[in-house]
């Protein structure tokens, strides 16, 4: 009787596994229309001990400032953040010089005449946006809105392309889907295959999440931005650096978070170990 039930349990479990397997297998087939394949990249800030590479963030900022900031704002980031630890860590003098050099201005006021006025930006100001409002941004970009960059790395995190991939991500602490996507997008421009041509003003890019035609033209080309630290001046390198920088913009506390996290988990592991030993000691000799 007992073994019979056991084998019945197994049969049912097998049937159930099969059922789930069938559902899972049906997934890509059914949803293949909108699966974008994103190549994963190596990031200095991935994993339990990863931290930002300061030099890379500085390069990424340079790309952002010289290229992307013509269209994309970064409204939640302040100049002072560029100085803070765990970021690009420019010196205060460097950021002040940069404000002067680039002529960054912030709208202030009203003054005692009741008028709004522009003044040079201060460290405490947010990075100014290229357009006064989304409508102006659209008007200048063929009706398409270049999204603000403060959160873009967290807002475009594409999950894996196979069912259950989130479990693998969880087990490997993988949380870099956002920068992966931006890198893939910037390096993903190519000629449209026959039959997939884009309408005027749109550009073929099969990494784009919302279709294969994107309103942004390939934003950057080789040697467009000059690197002073001798890094390669290629689209590939630019894309990597700006993606890392955008991840920092969205997750400015990552370094601190992982550092505190390690110490906290170390403490908790020791505590759990001691509690385990206490439990064992307490219960030894007690049948339960």
């Amino acid at each position: 009787m007992f073994t019979q039930t056991k084998s019945r349990v197994r049969t049912f479990l097998a049937a159930a596994t099969l059922a789930i397997g069938a559902v899972a297998a049906a997934t890509p087939a059914l949803a293949s229309g909108d699966v974008v394949h994103i190549e994963r990249q190596k990031w200095s800030f991935s994993g339990a001990f990863g931290t930002y590479d300061k030099a890379q963030l500085q390069r990424g900022f340079k790309v952002y400032k010289e290229v992307c900031s013509a269209c994309h704002g970064m409204g939640l980031v302040s100049f002072r953040n560029l100085v803070q630890s765990g970021g690009p860590e420019f010196s205060e003098a460097q950021v002040k010089a940069l404000i002067k050099e680039a002529g960054y201005e912030t709208l202030d006021g009203p003054n005692d005449q009741g008028e709004m006025f522009k003044r040079p930006s201060r460290l405490s100001d947010r990075l100014p946006s290229p357009f006064p409002n989304p409508e102006a941004a659209r008007a200048a970009n063929n009706g398409a809105y270049p999204p603000d960059f403060s959160m873009i790395a967290k807002a475009r995190a594409v999950a894996g392309s196979y069912p259950g991939s989130f479990l693998v991500d969880g087990l490997t602490l993988y949380a870099e889907h956002g920068p992966d996507y931006i890198y893939n997008l910037i390096t993903g421009y190519k000629d449209a295959p026959k039959g997939h041509e884009c309408a005027d003003g749109l550009n073929y890019n099969d990494k784009f999440l919302s279709g294969t035609c994107i309103a942004m033209a390939a934003p950057i080309s080789d040697d467009q931005v000059t690197y002073e630290d001798g890094s390669k001046q290629t689209v590939d390198q630019y894309a990597r650096d700006v993606s890392a920088f955008l991840n920092w913009a969205a997750e400015p506390k990552l370094n601190e978070r992982k550092q505190i996290g390690f110490l906290t988990l170390l403490f908790l592991t020791v505590l759990a170990g001691l509690l385990y030993l206490t439990t064992r000691k307490l219960w030894s000799g007690i049948k339960h």
């Binding site: 019945r8 479990l13 969205a250 992982k258 390690f262």
Partner: protein, 404 residues
């Protein structure tokens, strides 16, 4: 209530207090001397874990409110202000946000424990019903909390879910605009959700007190399902279970904090990092993972009202479960056939969770219907099988079972 206490006030102050409010001897009776079955396994630690999660949610929530602004034009940025500018704001927010998911994991384990070991049966029906009530309040709290950061999923999730009430004939539409406080999800909605999101956790706390009161009237169940018969079957709650529970809580918190520190966005939808925009509908509107099985049931039914009723029915059926299960045997360990169906039920819940995140089309809907049938079928099955099954022999007592 204080019946188990062996506490004798020692000093003058304690004696003075004891004659006026015997709170120390009551706590001693409830949390120290309380006789607890000696054979509880680790599935019995999820209650304590859920309690710690509730406290974590309340404490982090109160700190968040100190910096959060419940207004449609300010909410999103105020949460980002917490993440970027408030000292350790990122930590508090990540704890609260991931805490909601981990709280649900703990509570789901707690519920499954109850289903497997028949904790809902006589004499624990009221205890079980209070638990289902807590679960409902948690769902309401989490749903409204998710609206507060005012991201795209906050807004569209709120729109889809509140719209469900429009399925009811005649009263539907008025009820929906009453919930909204207007003609769409807007500032009045955000404000009332904020007020309720602050209120409900304290109501949960109140129901938890009743839940524990009911527990301490009937006593703990145990893996054999054979009730405590003599003092030999039990151990005092402290130190045996206080320490064991603390160990389990520590392990669970390690699991919890791995998300908080290394994958704070794991449970979150990327679109919720985009500020709510009533003019842009996201490609797929998905609720948080802990609602997915119910969401799948909602969409498995072709009729809107039918779907809403099935979804609420999936929870409502839990309230009457103590009377649906006709077997007197509590633990599935001694119910070989029922046990198989229990696991099938678990499989159906997981599969429905998976299907709830998939688009409602084609084969997905077919599978949703199959698993929904298994979900509800389980309760019908429990009714029938209890009348005909032949359980395995039960041990005479807890002590006998641990000695064998």
């Amino acid at each position: 209530m204080a019946g188990h206490s062996t506490y004798q006030p020692q000093n003058a102050i304690a004696k003075w207090l004891e004659r006026r409010l015997p709170i120390i001897s009551m706590m001693h009776g409830q949390a120290v001397a309380f006789p607890t079955p000696r054979n509880l396994n680790y599935f019995w630690t999820f209650g304590a874990i859920a309690m710690f999660m509730l406290i974590t949610m309340i404490l982090t929530g109160i700190v968040l409110v100190m910096h959060y602004t419940p207004h449609t034009s300010l909410a999103f940025n105020s949460v980002e202000h917490i993440m970027r500018d408030v000292n350790y704001g990122w930590l508090i927010r990540n704890l609260h946000q991931n805490g909601a998911s981990l709280f649900f994991i703990a509570v789901y384990m707690h519920i499954l424990r109850g289903l497997y070991f028949g904790s809902y049966k006589e004499p624990r029906e009221v205890l079980w019903i209070l638990g289902v009530l807590i679960f409902l309040l948690m769902m309401a709290t989490a749903f409204m909390g998710y609206v507060l950061p005012w991201g795209q999923m906050s807004f569209w999730g709120a729109t889809v879910i509140t719209n469900l009430f429009s399925a009811f004939p005649i009263v539907g539409d008025p009820v929906v605009s009453w919930l909204w406080g207007g003609f769409s999800v807007d500032n009045p909605t955000l404000n009332r959700f904020f007020a309720l999101h602050y209120l409900l956790p304290f109501m949960i706390l109140g129901v938890v007190v009743l839940h524990i009161w009911a527990l301490h009237v009937s006593g703990n169940g145990n893996p054999t399902g054979v009730e405590v018969k003599s003092e030999q079957d039990t151990l005092p709650f402290h130190p045996y279970y206080t320490i064991k529970d603390l160990f389990a809580v520590a392990v669970f918190f390690i699991f919890f904090l791995i998300f908080v520190f290394y994958m704070p966005m794991f449970f979150n939808h990327p679109d919720n990092n985009i500020e709510a925009n009533p003019l842009v509908t996201p490609a797929h509107i998905v609720p948080e993972w802990y609602f997915l099985p119910f969401y799948a049931i909602l969409r498995a039914v072709p009729d809107k009202l039918g779907g809403v009723l099935a979804m609420f029915g999936a929870i409502a059926v839990m309230f009457i479960l103590p009377w649906l299960d006709t077997s007197k045997i509590r633990s599935m360990t001694y119910r070989p056939i029922a046990k198989v169906f229990f696991w099938l039920f678990v499989v159906a819940c997981v599969a429905l969770g998976y299907l709830g995140a998939a688009p409602a089309e084609g084969l997905y809907v077919v599978f949703s219907r199959i698993f929904m049938a298994i979900y509800f079928g389980y309760f019908v099955f429990l009714f029938v099988i209890g009348l005909v099954e032949k359980p395995k022999p039960l041990p005479n007592s807890i002590t006998e079972s641990v000695l064998s």
